[in-house]
């Protein structure tokens, strides 16, 4: 009897333990759909207005792929707020999707984890060769000198969006081409209930993108050629200060936007509360807020002087989404086939058209959809004047540390505290010291 009782206890414990361990596993996202060559799991990033819209866009394309290859793709659209954490969790557990989208600025950081399949020549050959893609897009898919960790899928660049009616009301005929002109125009456009320029003080990545471009324009950078942080270099400090000064000194930005972080800027623009925004591929969002194509103009992002180009004439970061294959995938062949499908000319045109982005595949760019007045400045920026963010393993930390510093500076500016070269430098110094662990 004692034996029976003990056995009963032990078996109960085991059953409970097994049950609880099962709970801990979470949803079943095992790689390779359990190793079957006929299924793939795909984590798509949220490119459309919402997750449901993305599902509606992608599902018919995945059906086409299934028809062509017999491989069924299980789609999950992961919101941006979760995507990086989900990827980190997948990396540490080894339980991830087969194919996934990543923000292209994460490429080097994720490359360093070793979780992603390196795209060497043989893999590139399977999808038609590396030459099919624009250089700047491939350049933002991993650290220089290493096989890229991903393949470019959608490319984006920053442009200056302006409200045509507000410009006409203020008597401005052409969009500004330099920052001085932008500030002058911005002052004309700023009055009660309306501001010249819209930005998002608490939006870390937005802060980073602009601070990076402005630092470039001041001849600085946040990393030196050896990959060491140089946040307090004069160029970087000047770049950050110029960005915050649009609110602090020039006062062409509404102080309320210091707490914006969730694209409220775009709503303000659509409502006519803001005359200009610097944004990547915002046209489709403006239209979803009820604006017509003729309501807003698209121009290149201003430079300090002259015209956009390379080096100090940079006017955009290379923004975009890359597609990566999870190294733990049990179906690498199928995954590569899927990447080939998604980067084929036909799919590139369909998907980039829907999402309002630019195809990183050169041959797809000739489609007329990417030569409209709204798209041309973006395409030209990518071709001539866009620079990838630093491709270093600590890029994610950089975005957080410097983005938080800039957020704090905007909070200071909004509260009426002075923002000086010294205070900017101090904030960036603190950010840099947090990097050196």
């Amino acid at each position: 009897m004692r034996m029976i009782r003990a056995a009963a206890v032990v078996s109960t414990v085991l059953a409970l333990a097994a049950a609880s361990a099962g709970c801990g596993g979470g949803s079943d996202t095992s790689g390779g759909g359990g190793g079957s060559p006929k299924t793939l799991t795909y984590w798509a990033s949220n490119q459309g207005p919402n997750v449901e819209a993305d599902k509606a866009t992608l599902t018919p394309e995945l059906k086409k792929f299934e028809k062509q290859t017999g491989i069924k793709v299980k789609l999950e659209v992961v919101p941006w707020s979760d995507l990086l954490n989900r990827i980190l969790a997948a990396t540490s557990s080894g339980q991830g999707p087969d194919v996934l989208n990543i923000g292209n600025t994460w490429s080097s950081s994720l490359q360093a984890t070793g979780a992603l399949l390196p795209w060497d020549d043989s893999h590139f050959q399977q999808i038609g060769g590396r030459d099919r893609f624009t250089d700047s897009a491939v350049g933002s898919a991993g650290a220089a000198g290493k096989d890229p960790a991903a393949v470019p899928l959608y490319s984006m660049a920053y442009a200056l969006y302006y409200n045509k009616k507000l410009f006409a009301d203020a008597g401005i005929s052409t969009p500004p081409a330099t920052w001085d002109e932008l500030v002058a125009d911005g002052k004309k456009l700023t009055k009660s209930g309306q501001s010249g320029l819209g930005l998002e003080g608490a939006n870390l990545s937005n802060n980073i993108h602009q601070a990076f471009v402005l630092a470039k324009q001041h001849g600085g950078d946040f990393y030196d050629s050896a990959g060491k942080p140089t946040f307090t270099s004069p160029g970087a400090v000047a770049g950050v200060k110029q960005w915050v000064d649009f609110m602090a000194k020039d006062k062409i930005v509404a102080t309320g936007s210091a707490e914006y972080a969730q694209n409220q800027t775009l709503q303000d623009f659509a409502k006519g509360k803001t005359a200009m925004v610097l944004w990547q591929t915002a046209a489709s969002t403006f239209k979803s807020y009820g604006m017509k194509d003729s309501d807003f103009g698209v121009a290149p992002v201003p430079v300090q002087s002259g015209t956009p180009g390379t080096g100090q004439q940079t006017n955009s970061m290379v923004a975009g989404i890359n597609m990566a294959v999870f190294k733990n995938s049990k179906n690498v062949d199928g995954a590569v086939k899927f990447v080939k499908f998604m980067t084929s000319d036909a799919e590139q045109i369909i998907l980039n058209k829907t999402y309002g982005s630019i195809p990183p595949v050169k041959s797809a760019q000739t489609d007329p959809a990417f030569n409209t007045t709204a798209m041309k400045p973006l395409r030209e920026a990518l071709a001539t004047s866009a620079t990838p963010l630093p491709q270093v393993p600590t890029e994610s930390q950089f975005e957080t540390a410097v983005g938080t510093a800039v957020k704090g500076l905007f909070a200071d500016a909004a509260a009426g505290k002075p923002v000086t070269t010294a205070s900017v430098k101090a904030a960036l110094d603190k950010a840099q010291q947090q990097m050196q662990q």
Binding site: M1, V9, V13, A112, P393, Q437
Partner: protein, 340 residues
């Protein structure tokens, strides 16, 4: 646990012997004399532990194993280069702790700052939760029309899902479109300009308000339950002796509530000190400096900068601090109780 009496042991042994034929054979094998009784006593002593075993094993699995893993991680240099296979991460010795505790360097300074912010936030939040909870439950003690409805209403914040509740607060705290500023500035004209609540120094108060709003119903619930156990005769006797309401509260209610309060304050302290959801939903993953509480800070040190070794070291320090506080608190309060 009270030791089983001999009578009870005999009884249960008899019951066990009756329960099935196979068992009786083994029971009889012991033969006459003291042995079977001793075996029975042993069995009865071990039974409670056997019954506890599943719970203990689950507790180990759910709580202790992750905790030990966290402690192990804190001694390793787990950065993004090793998260794929963290058993390969190099041993870092006390490096992570040294960095976290070097209060002259930025990382240590930031941690210390965050620690002080958390202490101030916790003290205020727990204090206010308790005061509000105690005050309202005393007011609700005597029955009146609508008491049940009010009691239910007061518990709503506690019953709401945290995310839904806090995100609503985040909307209300928005500077330009939020309800708070609409009332304070547009309607009451209390402020000359619209204040920011989610960035800058006010964020501390925003966090405190939400935390108290969310936490006080629990204090109310527990104290209300505690009040039901105080015999009415005590109050009646005190009233006859001429004690006023204030004296009744001081001399009868509070001392009677002491054991309840002891647990309540401890639980509130631990919950508030560790609260991650409220600040995270309010501020996102980079909290303003004034509201940079320790849970968010550690999250940032590990998840956002991908340095899990460093984050684990900070968590271990937090664990040690909370253990010490809890131990001291329990020692101090239970000694006081013995004195009474």
């Amino acid at each position: 646990m009270t030791p089983p009496t001999t009578a009870a042991a005999d009884e249960s042994q008899a019951a066990a012997a009756d329960s099935g034929p196979p068992r009786s054979a083994s029971g009889r094998r012991g033969g006459p004399g003291r042995r079977p009784r001793q075996a029975g006593r042993l069995r009865n002593l071990s039974l409670p532990y056997m019954l506890l075993l599943p719970a203990i094993l689950l507790e180990l699995l759910v709580h202790l194993v992750p905790m030990i893993l966290g402690i192990v991680m804190s001694f390793r240099g787990i950065t993004q280069f090793f998260i794929r296979n963290w058993t390969q991460a190099p041993w870092a010795g006390l490096h992570n702790f040294r960095i976290a505790l070097d209060f002259n360097a930025p990382i240590g300074q930031a941690l210390l700052h965050s620690f002080f912010v958390t202490c101030a936030f916790t003290a205020l939040s727990v204090g206010l939760c308790w005061l509000l909870g105690a005050f309202v439950s005393l007011m609700m003690q005597d029955s009146f029309r609508g008491r049940g409805v009010l009691r239910t209403l007061f518990l709503v914040p506690y019953a709401l899902p945290v995310y839904a509740a806090v995100i609503t607060w985040a909307f209300m705290f928005q500077r330009d479109n939020g309800l708070i500023n609409h009332v304070l500035h547009d309607q009451l004209h209390l402020t000359s300009d619209r204040p920011f609540w989610l960035i800058g120094d006010n964020s501390f108060y925003a966090l405190l308000i939400v935390s108290v709003w969310k936490g006080w119903p629990f204090a109310f619930l527990i104290i209300t339950a505690g009040l039901q156990n105080i015999p009415r005769e005590l109050y009646e006797a005190a009233a006859i002796d001429g004690a006023g309401m204030w004296q009744q509260i001081r001399r009868i209610t509070m001392p009677s509530l002491r054991p309840v309060n002891q647990v309540l304050v401890l639980v509130l302290f631990l919950w508030t000190f560790n609260d991650f959801n409220t600040p995270f939903v309010l501020f996102g993953n980079s909290a303003p400096e004034a509201a940079d509480v320790i849970s968010i800070h550690i999250y940032q040190a590990s998840f956002v900068t991908w340095n899990f070794g460093s984050g684990s070291a900070m968590s271990v320090l937090l664990l040690l601090f909370l253990l010490v506080v809890t131990a001291v608190y329990l020692l101090a309060t239970s000694r006081r109780r013995q004195d009474v």
